[in-house]
C-alpha cells in the first residue's frame, strides 16, 4: 500500500507541475529571462531528485516488505564511502546552484544604476501606493512628515514653499518608459509593505525609516499588477497598484500632458 501511495502522489505532483496549466507569467526584461532560465535549471534538478527519492523509497518498501510479524534480519548497517560520496554530491549541487544564482541577485541589488537612470519615489501606506516623479528641474521637492494628509491630497507631505516641488508629479500607479533604467526609491510611512511585480521577478520590502532603492528596466509595454506581499493589516489583500510600461514617446507625451494639467508648463501653441 505504502509504495502505491507514494507512486500516486509522485505522479500526481509531477503531472500538476508539468501540466503547464498554471505557471509563471511572461518575463518582460532580460533580467527576468535569466531568472527564468535559472529557475528552470533548479526546477529540473529538484524534480529529478524528488522523483528519484520517492521512487527509491517506494522501491525499498516494495522489495523488502514482509507480511506478518517478522524475525530479526541481518543487513548492512552502514557504508561510510557511499555516505561521503552522497554528501559530496549533495553539497556540490546545493551550494553550486546558490552560487550560480548570485549573478541574478547581484544584477538587482549590487550593481550601480547607470548615471542617467530615472528616479521615481514610491511611498506606501496602509493600503495604497503613491509614486512621485521629478519635474523638468530633475529634483524632488522638499517634504515634511507633518504635512502628510490624504484628505488634502498630499500623501507625500510636499512643502508648497519649495520651488523644486512645484513640478513634481504624484500618481497612484507607476508609469515607466519601456527600456529605460529606473531607480525606484521606496519608503513606507506606517508598516512594512512589499513591492512585487511578477513579470519582473522582483520583490522588495518597503521599510519605515529606510529608503530602499530598487533598480529595474521594463522592456515590454503593457500593464502589470503590483501586489503588496508583506502583511500590512486588514486591507493587505486590497493593496494593489499597476506598473504601466509605456513606449518612450508615449511616456513623454503623458508626462507633458500631466505637467500642463499641473500648470507647470503651458501647452504648446497649436499651429
Amino acid at each position: 500500500m505504502a509504495a502505491v501511495l507514494v507512486w500516486v502522489v509522485t505522479a500526481a505532483t509531477l503531472a500538476l507541475f508539468l501540466s503547464g496549466r498554471w505557471w509563471l507569467p511572461e518575463a518582460i526584461n532580460a533580467q527576468a529571462r535569466s531568472w527564468d532560465s535559472h529557475f528552470n535549471l533548479t526546477f529540473w534538478i529538484m524534480g529529478a531528485v524528488f522523483a528519484a527519492a520517492q521512487l527509491a523509497l517506494s522501491w525499498v518498501v516494495l522489495r523488502y516488505r514482509s507480511s506478518g510479524e517478522p524475525v530479526a534480519e541481518s543487513g548492512s548497517h552502514g557504508n561510510n564511502k557511499l555516505e561521503l560520496v552522497w554528501m559530496g554530491a549533495a553539497a556540490v549541487v546545493f551550494v553550486g546552484l546558490s552560487a550560480l544564482s548570485t549573478a541574478i541577485w547581484a544584477g538587482v541589488h549590487l550593481e550601480r544604476a547607470p548615471a542617467g537612470a530615472m528616479r521615481i519615489e514610491a511611498v506606501a501606506k496602509q493600503f495604497a501606493w503613491n509614486f512621485r516623479y521629478q519635474g523638468p528641474d530633475g529634483k524632488f521637492g522638499r517634504v515634511k512628515p507633518e504635512l502628510i494628509s490624504d484628505a488634502n491630497g498630499n500623501p507625500f507631505g510636499l512643502d508648497d514653499t519649495d520651488e523644486a516641488g512645484r513640478d513634481d508629479i504624484t500618481m497612484a500607479a507607476l508609469r515607466v518608459p519601456a527600456g529605460t533604467p529606473v531607480v525606484l526609491e521606496m519608503q513606507s510611512r506606517d508598516v512594512l509593505h512589499n513591492f512585487f511585480v511578477r513579470e519582473l521577478r522582483i520583490k522588495q520590502d518597503l521599510v519605515p525609516g529606510m529608503r530602499i532603492p530598487l533598480r529595474f528596466s521594463a522592456d515590454k509595454p503593457g500593464t502589470y499588477e503590483v501586489a503588496c506581499s508583506e502583511l500590512c493589516g486588514l486591507g493587505h489583500h486590497q493593496m494593489r497598484t499597476q506598473l504601466i510600461v509605456m513606449g518612450k514617446e508615449e511616456f513623454q507625451k503623458w508626462q507633458q500632458e500631466t505637467l500642463q494639467q499641473l500648470g507647470v508648463i503651458t501647452a504648446p501653441e497649436s499651429r
Binding site: 527519492a53 520517492q54 525499498v60 512594512l192 512589499n194 499588477e225
Partner: protein, 560 residues
C-alpha cells in the same frame, strides 16, 4: 535469540531499590501536582492534542472562507459578533484566525508534542533513569506552558479580538497598538505575554532534558549508544536553550515599544491611520533578526525529535540496526548547529544588506547536506530489511516521503535571487507546511501509534490506523502541492480573498481543490481521535513489547 525474547531484559537500578511506578492516587495529586515524568508527558500530549484540533478548526474556517469569501455562515456571527457581522467573515477576522492558527500550531503542537510530550515520557525510560533530573521544574514547565496557552486563547475573547499580525508579529504593525487594526491592542499584548511565558517554559524544559541526558544515563549507556530518539531530544533541547533565550528579550522589548513609549523597533516619521507617532530611531528589521534567530532553529525544534522517532521506528520495523548510526548523529548535530547561522534566509527581501544574503544562502544550502544524509540513511535502513507494514511504520515512511518533498523546495527558496519571486507566496506556505508542519505531524502520529501500547497498555486499532494514514497521506499532498503551483503563479499569502487581482482569478480551481482536500484530511482526523480514545479503554491488551523493539522503554516495568 528471537526478537520476541527481548522483553525479558530487566531494569538497571544499581544499588538503589527499584521504585514502584504507580502514579500518585487521586485525580488532583495525579493530574495537578504530579511530578512524574509519565504523567507530565501525557499532560503535554493532551494539551497539544486539544491545541492541534483547535488550530485545525481555524485552518478549516480559513480554507472554507477562501473559496467563497462572501458566504454567509450564520453561526460564525454567534462566535464573532463583530468579526463576522451578518455571518460574513471580515478580513480582520480571517487574519486573526491565521495568526492564531500559526501560533497555536508552531508553539503548542510542533514544539510541544515531540519534545515535551513524548520526550518527557520516554527519555527517562530509554536511558534507564527514574525520572527527569528535576521533576518539580518539569511540573512548573508544564503549568507555565498551560498558562501560556490560556493567555493566548484569551486573545480571542478580549475586546478587539485576536491579533492579525501573523505568527511572526513584524513591527511596526505589531508595535504601534490598536491603531494598526482590530486585535492589535490588548490581543497583541496577550500574544506577546503568552509567547514570553512559553519561552520561559521551554527554557525550563530544555535545562531538564540536557541535565537528564548528560548525567542520568545508566552507567553502561554511552552517548554513542543512545537511541536516535534521545539524540533528537538532546539536540532539540540544546537549540531551545539558545533560541528561546533570544526570543524572550525580543518579546520584552516589543512589549516596551507598545506600552512604555520606547523605540527599539519603531522608526521616526510613522503616520498610522492619519496619526503621527512619537517614535524615533528604532529598526523594524532588528525585530526580524531577533525573531528569526529564534524562528529558524524553531523549525528544527519541530523536526529533530521526529527524525529520531522515524529512525527508531524504521529500524524496528525493518528488523535492522540503523544504517550509518554515527552519520545520523553527526547529521542531527550539524543541522542543529547550522540552524543558528541561516536565519537571514527568511529576510532576503527585508532590506538587509544584500551581501549578507549571499552568505546566508550558502550556509543555508549546506543544511541540505545533512538532511540529504538522513534521507539516504533511512532508505539504507530499509534496504535489505524485512519491513513489517504497520500503522507506525506507514507514518514513518510517510514522514520520509514528506520530508523529501518539503525539503527539496528549500533548494529553490534558499537562493536569494529565486526568493525574490517566491517570498511570501503560497509556494512558501506549501514548503513549510510540508516539511515543518505535516512531516513533523506524521512523526507525531508514528510516535502515537508506536508508543500507545506503552503509554496506555492497549493496542490502537490497526484497520482504523491504516485508513487514517491512507487518507491523511493523500490529503496532505492534495492540500500542499497545489499551494506550490499557486505560488509559481505568484499568489501572495495572507490574503483573505483574491478578488482584487486579475491574475489570481485563474487560481480558483486550485484553491477549491485545496479546501476540499483540507476538509477530507480533517475529517479523517476524527477517526484518529476516535481510535485514540476508544483504544484507551477498549483496545486489545498490549503485550510488553508488541513491536519487538530493542530500545529500553519496552523492557521497563514502568506502566502508567
Amino acid at each position: 535469540m528471537a526478537a520476541g525474547d527481548l522483553a525479558a531484559t530487566g531494569r538497571d537500578y544499581g544499588s538503589r531499590e527499584p521504585v514502584v511506578a504507580a502514579p500518585p492516587p487521586g485525580f488532583v495529586r495525579r493530574w495537578i501536582f504530579s511530578t512524574d515524568h509519565k504523567v507530565i508527558g501525557k499532560q503535554y500530549y493532551f494539551l497539544a492534542l486539544f491545541a492541534a484540533f483547535l488550530g485545525m478548526a481555524l485552518s478549516l474556517l480559513m480554507r472554507w472562507h477562501l473559496i467563497d469569501p462572501d458566504r454567509k455562515i450564520a453561526w460564525l456571527e454567534k462566535l464573532w459578533p463583530e468579526g463576522a457581522a451578518g455571518g460574513i467573515m471580515t478580513p480582520e477576522l480571517y487574519l486573526s484566525l491565521m495568526t492564531m492558527h500559526g501560533t497555536i500550531m508552531v508553539f503548542f503542537v510542533l514544539t510541544t508534542v515531540p519534545q515535551s510530550g513524548f520526550g518527557n515520557y520516554f527519555l527517562p525510560l530509554q536511558i534507564g533513569a527514574d525520572d527527569m533530573a528535576f521533576p518539580r521544574l518539569n511540573m512548573a514547565s508544564f503549568w507555565t506552558t498551560f498558562v501560556s496557552f490560556l493567555v493566548l486563547i484569551a486573545a480571542f475573547v478580549v475586546p478587539g479580538g485576536a491579533p492579525l499580525g501573523g505568527w511572526t508579529a513584524y513591527p511596526p504593525l505589531s508595535g504601534v497598538g490598536a491603531i494598526a487594526g482590530p486585535g492589535m491592542g490588548l490581543g497583541m499584548d496577550l500574544w506577546i505575554v503568552s509567547i514570553a511565558l512559553f519561552c520561559i517554559a521551554s527554557l525550563m524544559g530544555a535545562i531538564n532534558f540536557v541535565a537528564t541526558l548528560v548525567d542520568l544515563r545508566a552507567p553502561s549507556l554511552g552517548l554513542m549508544q543512545l537511541p536516535l530518539t534521545c539524540w533528537g531530544w538532546f539536540t532539540t533541547a540544546m537549540i531551545s536553550l539558545l533560541a528561546f533565550a533570544v526570543l524572550l528579550p525580543g518579546g520584552v522589548l516589543l512589549l516596551m515599544d507598545r506600552n512604555l513609549g520606547t523605540s527599539f523597533f519603531l522608526p521616526a516619521g510613522l503616520v498610522v491611520s492619519d496619526r503621527a507617532l512619537q517614535h524615533s530611531g528604532g529598526s523594524p528589521i532588528l525585530w526580524q533578526h531577533l525573531f528569526w534567530f529564534f524562528g529558524h532553529p524553531e523549525v528544527y525544534i519541530a523536526i529533530l525529535p521526529g527524525m529520531g522517532f522515524v529512525s527508531t521506528i524504521l529500524s524496528t520495523f525493518a528488523r535492522k540496526p540503523i544504517f550509518g548510526y554515527r552519520a545520523m548523529v553527526y547529521a542531527m548535530v550539524a543541522i542543529a548547529a547550522l540552524g543558528f547561522l541561516v536565519w537571514g534566509h527568511h529576510m532576503f527581501v527585508s532590506g538587509m544588506n544584500p551581501y549578507s544574503a549571499i552568505a546566508f544562502s550558502l550556509i543555508t544550502m549546506t543544511v541540505g547536506v545533512p538532511s540529504a544524509i538522513k534521507t539516504f540513511n533511512w532508505v539504507g535502513t530499509l534496504w535489505g530489511g524485512k519491513l513489517w507494514i504497520t500503522t507506525p511504520s506507514l507514518f514513518a515512511l510517510g514522514f520520509v516521503s514528506l520530508f523529501v518533498s518539503g525539503g527539496i523546495t528549500g533548494i529553490l527558496l534558499g537562493q536569494p535571487a529565486m526568493d525574490m519571486y517566491f517570498h511570501d507566496t503560497y509556494f512558501v506556505v506549501g514548503h513549510f507546511h510540508l516539511i515543518m508542519g505535516v512531516a513533523a505531524v506524521f512523526a507525531m502520529f508514528a510516535g502515537t501509534y508506536y508508543w500507545f501500547p506503552k503509554m496506555f497498555g492497549r493496542m490502537m486499532n490497526e484497520t482504523l490506523g491504516k485508513a487514517h494514514f491512507l487518507v491523511t497521506f493523500l490529503g496532505v499532498y492534495a492540500i500542499f502541492v497545489p499551494m506550490h503551483i499557486a505560488g509559481i503563479v505568484g499568489n501572495p499569502r495572507r490574503y483573505p480573498d483574491f478578488k482584487e487581482f486579475e491574475f489570481l482569478a485563474d487560481l480558483k480551481f486550485l484553491h477549491t481543490m485545496m479546501t476540499h482536500a483540507a476538509m477530507s484530511t480533517a475529517a479523517i482526523q476524527l477517526v484518529f481521535l476516535f481510535n485514540l480514545f476508544w483504544s484507551m479503554y477498549r483496545g486489545s491488551v498490549a503485550p510488553a513489547n508488541p513491536w519487538h523493539a530493542t530500545t529500553r522503554e519496552w523492557s521497563s516495568d514502568e506502566y502508567e
